[in-house]
Amino acid sequence: MVNFVEFAFFFYIFVGLYLTSLLFFIYISNRKKLFYYPIGKPEPVSIVIPCYNAEKTIGQAIESLLRLNYPREMIEIIVVDDKSTDDSVRIVEEYTGKHSNIKLIKMDKNSGGAAEPTNLGVLNAKYNYVSVTDDDSSPEPDALIKMIGFLQDDEKVAAVTCAVMARNSRTFMQKLQNVEYTIISWSRKLLDCVDSVYVTPGPFALYRKKNLIEVGLFDSKNMTQDIEIVWRLLFHGYKARMCLAARVYSETPTKIKAWWRQRVRWNIGGTQSILKYKKFMFRKGMLGAFIIPFFSFSLFLGLFGLGIFIYLLTTRLWVKYLSTKYSIYAGSTILRFQDLTFNPSVLNFFGIALFLSGLFFTLIGLSVMNEPRFKNKNILNILFYMLVYLALYPFVMVNGLYKLLRGKYSW
């Protein structure tokens, strides 16, 4: 008969089924307009790049901005150096020497995050539209012109994000992140269809300057200021939009250690945002109706699920260890044929059905995004991504929560 743990599994399967169905339903009713963007007319834009120890990438980032299909005289590039200790400043100074529309601002001391240099850049921006881009990211030439129409089209839109794609696919970790970034971009656009864009990621986003200043700029205490700012804009009644037709390519960690550190930071920032806005649960439009509950529920389910998994695994391993130890001592059989028999239950079939729907969703996402690197889909990478990579997230959550509780975290 079904016990508590099995009931929990059924619940997880139902939630998974619901979320997959939700995204499918949104996709079905919006599939023809996913890549739609309002045609915008060029207006002056200030582009802020918070920079810290980016000697290897800052040049490429600036070059990509100089290649934007946008009137040169309408672009101002502001690099805010957060007291880099490498050659970043010298590289940026080479560009400021050659281009009158590139400006360098040096912070007096390192702020330890991207929020403060970004805020300084926004305050120094000449124009009403402000774009923020990371020092290791490169937007596609038509990204800005495709995004600006969203702000011009609706006064209530205060922020626009685009599809963030992984720049390289050299290492196995990067290949997995390539799949992940593509699916996240697609899912984010689907959530945009229900007014639930919850982040304008650092690699490339466009804002209305007066709205940013009105709501108090980026929160320097939050580890994911790009999530928090959107929640604050939504709280003030503004909207955030996603332009799937525009893309920015960003560096991804090559090794698991750097990946882990980045994801822990994302989780800390997400949890900080939940704590900050928890009192608006079920209030303030889609922020309280979907985004905060979705984040909170994901955190709870991730941690609870991991707890159940660890409990089951340790209990079973402990039983097997003891039993095997006794059998070895007694000189009796360790494993019988009947121990290997498997009679699938309803739970197994539900699990398989959920996995297949997840796989189907992923394959559709990769196909919709039409990323050239997925032309020859490596199904093994996709399976590894679904079975192993995603399973690491609850562990990242635990680590993030632990660091948050101890108050020991940094950018």
């Binding site: 089924l17 007694a330 009796s332 059989t333 028999t341 309803v346």
Partner: protein, 217 residues
């Protein structure tokens, strides 16, 4: 279509898919249960067969060898049927197999009583090994020991199939007869192996130590 309708549409869809899945699951189990239910009918027949066989042994003055052979054959059938039953008793089952388990425990208790009688009449020509365990225990220590005992007893059964009668009985399925036996014997800790109604084994023994406890060796 308003995209926000997707929230409740997805919910309705998920409920329908889930319900269909559950119904499919029930049908799947019903299919599996057909096999189990045939065992259920067998167990009814077995109980009657056992009761009748006991009377035949008494009334027809069947010799010890025949009676023993018949008893062992019967015990083997019950043992392997129960093993099959356990294979179906997996995690996540929607239907409960406790009732069926109870029937087998009842049958095995009857077998135990009969075996004791027969062994007395046949000058203790074989050993009766009764294994009392907890069917529903969640305690890791108990589960580990039960896993070990079932393997050890499987070895003993394979090795001494003609001299040792193995009768595993679950004590926590709510059968009053088993409760009566355990209370009378003062047994309140499980799992336990009873050899010829005298020796009670609670600890981990080697196969050799175990063999030494039998009369027939």
């Amino acid at each position: 279509m308003n995209s926000k309708n997707a929230f409740w549409q997805a919910f309705v869809f998920a409920v329908i898919v889930f319900a269909v899945g559950m119904i499919f699951g029930f049908f799947l189990e019903v299919k599996q249960n057909e096999n189990i239910f045939s065992r259920l009918v067998d167990s009814e027949i077995n109980i009657l067969d056992n009761q009748l066989r006991t009377r035949i042994v008494e009334d027809f003055e069947v010799g010890c060898d025949f009676a023993k052979e018949s008893l062992f054959k019967f015990a083997d059938n019950v043992y392997f049927e129960a093993v099959e039953l356990e294979e179906f008793d997996t995690d996540g089952r929607l239907s409960d197999l406790t009732t069926l388990h109870k029937r087998y425990d009842l049958l095995r208790t009857l077998l135990w009583v009969e075996a004791k009688e027969l062994n007395k009449e046949c000058a203790e020509s074989f050993d009766i090994l009764v294994y009392l365990y907890e069917y529903k225990s969640e305690d890791a220590g108990v589960k580990a020991k039960q896993d070990f005992y079932s393997k050890l007893l499987f070895d003993i059964k394979s090795e001494m199939s003609e001299d040792v009668l193995l009768i595993p009985i679950a004590v926590d399925t709510g059968l009053s007869s088993i409760e009566l036996i355990t209370k009378t014997k003062g047994i309140d800790k499980f799992p336990v192996i009873l050899i010829n109604d005298g020796t009670e084994i609670y600890e981990v023994l080697t196969l050799d130590e175990f063999r030494e406890l039998f009369n027939s060796v």
